[in-house]
Structures are given as C-alpha cells and as structure tokens.
C-alpha cells in the first residue's frame, strides 16, 4: 500500500472519529453542568428519580419486549415455512419485509389513524389497551426488516431441510420441530434480531407520539422542549441503551461462532 493512500486512510479515520466522538463528549460534558459551581451527576439524579421517566421508560421496555416476542412468533415460523415449503414465495415475503424501510413510519401510523379510528370497522384507537396493541403491531412492522434478515441469514447458515427431515423421521410434529430443533439452532440469529428490534423500538417517537401513548420517545421530546440539562443526561442514557443492545449482538454472534466451531471439530 502506497504511503499517500495510507495517510489518506488515517486522515479519513481521524476526521470520522472527530465527527462521531465530539457530540458524545459534548453531550456527556453538558450533562455534568447542572450545578453551576462544579461538574456533578445532578442531572442524572433528577432524571432517574423523576416518576415520569420511570413510567415512560418502563412502558417502553414493556412495549419493546412484547414487540420482540410478537415479532419472533410471526417471523420465525414464516421464514422456516418459506425455506422448506414455499421457496417460490421468498421474493414476495422479502419484498414485504423491506417495505417498512421504504414507507416512512409517519405514513404507516397516519394510515392506522384513518383506518382504525374509533368510528371504523376495527376501532383499535378506541381504548388504551387496544391502542397499546396497535402500537405493538406498528413496532413489529418496523422490526420486520431487521428480524426477517437476521432469521433468514441464520436459516441459511444451518441445514434446515436436513434438520427437519431428521426430526420428522423421528416422529416429531411441525411444532416440536420448530420449538425444539430449529429455534435452538437459530438462537443467536433470533437474539440478534431481538436486540436490534429492542434498540429501534425503545426510543421510538413518531408512532408513540401520534398514537398518543406515554412512551419514552414522546417523554424525551417533552423534556427536551422544557428543560435544560436533563435532555443531555437522557441522551447519554439512550446512547448507552443502544450501545448495550448492539454489544449484546456482538457477544451473541461471537458465542454462536465459537459454539459452531466446537461442534464441528469432532466431526472433522
């Protein structure tokens, strides 16, 4: 490699690091400024003891968990079925799972409000529990690209056809095969999709705000419009949550790679 191009590469990385690290440093520094006289963790104390924060964060965690479960139940059997029985439908399913990247969230939720309002055939926005359900469904929709891609690449890595045939020849039904053979083999792919979904959903603003649910995203916006130092502490917390989710994906996929290598060794 020529020295000039290596210098260019270092320059790109240096500028990139500057652009990406400065806002993180600045946000952290800002979050410590709440007491005039010295740096303190006062903003974090105020945020973490705010009942509004606790209820919004708790609500969003609950919604995110329910989203992850629904998404797994919907996507894993479908992806397996497509792989085993209906490969010719694969392009159609793939296309549908990519649509949430194409159609902005604000359009989808606007459609919900028009289609499922309280005077419609399916009044899902009529009461709070039904709206929670609609919010979960909207999050599952948002998660489709991530969950499907993750599970699909997981299916590609294992020989799902042989596993299924082996399981069925031993007398297992479709559900047993799915729950006890395929799902464990897909564990790391499912977990990756789940953490990504969690990261996307936990601070989501548009859907929650327009469906008028007390989630973390709208709470962040409200605090941002009314307070000075708390928003920076919240941004640091949100960044840590995203970072933790992504970190867990790394751990999970590394463990899977390690376990796979171990499993292959005796056969080799």
């Amino acid at each position: 490699m020529k020295p000039a191009s290596r210098a260019g590469a270092w320059l790109a990385i240096a500028l990139g690091s500057l652009y990406f690290l400065l806002p993180l440093i600045a946000t952290f520094e800002f979050s410590l400024r709440m007491r005039r006289e010295s740096y303190s963790l006062e903003a974090y104390r105020v945020v973490l003891t705010d009942p509004g924060f606790q209820s919004a964060f708790g609500y969003s965690i609950l919604m995110a968990l329910l989203t992850v479960i629904t998404s797994i139940v919907l996507v894993v059997p479908t992806a397996c079925w497509i792989e085993l029985r209906l490969p010719r439908m694969r392009p159609v399913i793939e296309f549908i799972t990519l649509l949430p990247l194409v159609i902005p969230a604000i359009i989808i939720v606007f459609g919900y409000l028009r289609l499922y309002n309280s005077s419609s055939w399916l009044p899902l926005t009529g009461n709070e529990r039904a709206t929670d359900l609609l919010l979960i469904c909207s999050y599952v929709t948002l998660s489709l690209p991530y969950m499907y891609r993750s599970v699909h690449s997981g299916l590609r890595a294992i020989d799902v056809r042989t596993l299924t045939e082996a399981s069925e020849s031993l007398g297992a039904g479709w559900f047993t095969t799915l729950a006890h053979v395929i799902a464990p083999a897909l564990k790391s792919a499912i977990l990756s999709g789940s953490f990504l979904t969690f990261a996307v959903v936990i601070g989501e603003f548009t859907m929650a705000s327009l469906l008028n649910r007390p989630a973390f995203g709208p709470y962040l916006q409200l605090i941002g419009a009314n307070r000075a130092y708390e928003p920076s502490a919240l941004a640091v917390i949100a960044f840590l949550v995203t970072w933790a989710s992504m970190g867990l994906i790394q751990v999970v996929s590394r463990n899977a790679a390690g376990a796979g290598a171990k499993r292959r060794l005796p056969g080799a």
């Binding site: 059997p77 399913i93 649509l99 194409v102 159609i103 289609l115 962040l220 941002g224 941004a235």
Partner: protein
C-alpha cells in the same frame, strides 16, 4: 442460483395429476404464510393503500384530483423542496464520507482492529437517531454547546455571529449525517470487500495509474452498490421525523413535520392535505427505493 429441471418438474407435477392428496398438500402449504400475510395486510399494506386511494377520493368516495391540487400551495411546495434538499445533501455527503471511511478500513492498510471497531460503532450510530440525537447535537453545536464554546474561547470564532444556527438547513444536514454516514459504512463495506486486490495488481502491472484503476476498474464495479446505497440513504432521511422535530420544533418547514402537525391538528387541520402529503411522500420514497432494488439486482447478477 438456476432452478434445476427436477425441482421444476416436482412443483408442476401435482397440478397435472388428478390425485387429490398432493393438491391438498399444495393448498395447505399456503396456510403456513397466512398469519404473516394477514399481519402485513392489516398493519402495513392496507393502511398505506387506504391513504393512496384516499388521496384520489372526495368525501362521497368519487374520484377527484382536487386533493393533489393542494400540493401546489406555496408552503407545501417549499416543504417538499426543503425535504428533498436536506435528504439529497445528507445522502450525497453521507455516501461520500461513508465510502471514504469504509475504503480506509478495507483497503487503507490500517491496523486490523480498526475495521471491527468502526463496523460496531456504525451499528450503534446508525440506530442512534431520533430525539436523543437532536439533544446530542444541541449539546455540541447549540448556542451553549461544547464546540460552540470552544470555538469562541480558543479560535475566536462565534459560529452564531456568522449566521450559523443548528436549527437550519445546514444544522439539520450535519445532524442527519450522524446516522447517514454509519448506514453507508454498513452497506458499502461488503461491496468494498468484494473488490479483489488482484485487480489493482493487474491494473498496476499493465502500466495503469491509480486514475486508470479507479475509472476503469473500481468505479464501474462499485457504482451500482454506491448509487443504490445513496438512494437508500435518501429515503432514510426523507421519512425521518423525530430528529428534525426535536431539533427545530415546527420551525423548519420540512414535509414530515408538516404532515406531523397536520395529523396532530397543531395547525389548521385539513385531512385532505394530509392524504395528499402522504401520497407525495410515498411516491418519492418508492421511486428512490425502486432505484435501489434495481441497482442491487444488477449488482447481484454481476456477482453471480
């Protein structure tokens, strides 16, 4: 992967024979995707289709183009224009910067630990959008942000005296880049990894210069994936709401914020305008995504 003739024969066989068993099995096969299809229909396809049809209907359900006429108002056209500009600027700058970073870690001869670090960080930053991102940039380049203060104290420059404000076109583009560049890195790194070192060596050994290599080898190979990724970045920025809303409130007139205000009823509520705005957005994001799909299909065909 070309379909083998046997598998084709297998799938057509049951439909030509009159045995009821296989036919039933074929029909049962379709049952397996019913839950997914039903979900997609209820929560993705129908709501979108409802808006698209609604944009062409009047209150009595008759066909009309009147709602689309609402798009021709001055402030609506302005909103579309600013949205297009912000999305295009953040997509182009994001694509170039993301490409440069990905190139640096794949072919730049840097220490090996930098590549996984960059990719992990990109995974985080690409998903660190929305309200917290707006907070982060306000802490950085807002009026009392760290970088603003540092520039004032040490460089003697006050960005805000030069007319800069974060709550503007430039501020919004600068903020969007924080998730656009990492997204580009994530999409384009696999394409760059496909660029073989042997091609550069071949070009060099035939007497080609770096310029020859770029014009005749690297760019033609990479162009579809880079262009496709840029279109995806464009659609990504075009549909974004939360970052812009948290950053500028309703002060910056972009189309998602206009639609958000329409739905919330913050401004003079006109449901017809909502339908028209939605249709316009769907058309724009669909066109750019169709371009992406077409380009990525071309890339895959070439690789196979």
């Amino acid at each position: 992967m070309p379909p083998s003739p046997q598998s084709g024969a297998e799938t057509t066989l049951p439909s030509v024979t009159a045995v009821p068993g296989p036919r039933l099995a074929i029909r049962l096969d379709w049952l397996g995707i019913v839950p997914f299809m039903l979900f997609a229909l209820l929560f993705l396809l129908l709501p979108t289709a409802f808006l698209m049809v609604g944009a062409f209907q009047d209150a009595q359900g008759h066909f009309t183009l009147a709602k689309l006429g609402l798009l021709l108002q001055g402030n609506v056209l302005d909103a579309y224009l600013i949205s297009l500009e912000v999305s295009a600027a953040s997509a182009i700058v994001g694509a170039i910067a993301g490409f440069a970073l990905a190139w640096a870690v794949v072919h730049g001869g840097l220490p090996a630990w930098i590549r996984p670090s960059l990719l992990t960080f990109s995974g985080v930053a690409a998903n660190f959008a929305g309200v917290p991102l707006a907070f982060a940039f306000l802490c950085t380049l807002g009026r009392t942000g760290l970088v603003t203060l540092l520039l004032q104290h040490y460089a003697g420059i006050d960005p805000y005296s030069t007319g800069f404000t974060l709550l503007s076109f430039h501020g919004l583009v600068l903020t969007y880049l924080y998730f656009q560049i990492p997204l580009m890195v994530l999409i384009v790194t696999p394409a760059l990894e496909g660029l073989r070192k042997e091609w550069r060596e071949a070009s060099d050994s035939l007497g080609g210069t770096a310029l020859h290599y770029w014009i005749h080898v690297a760019l033609p190979v990479l162009a579809p994936s880079v262009l496709g990724a840029s279109l995806l970045l464009f659609a990504n920025a075009f549909g974004a709401v939360a970052t812009a809303y948290a950053l500028t409130g309703s002060s910056l007139n972009i189309v998602t914020i206009l639609l958000y205000a329409q739905i919330r009823g913050d401004v003079l509520h006109d449901p017809n305008l909502g339908y028209a705005l939605a249709l316009g957005m769907i058309v724009i994001t669909s066109l750019s995504s169709a371009g992406y799909l077409w380009l990525s299909a071309r890339t895959q065909r070439r690789r196979s």
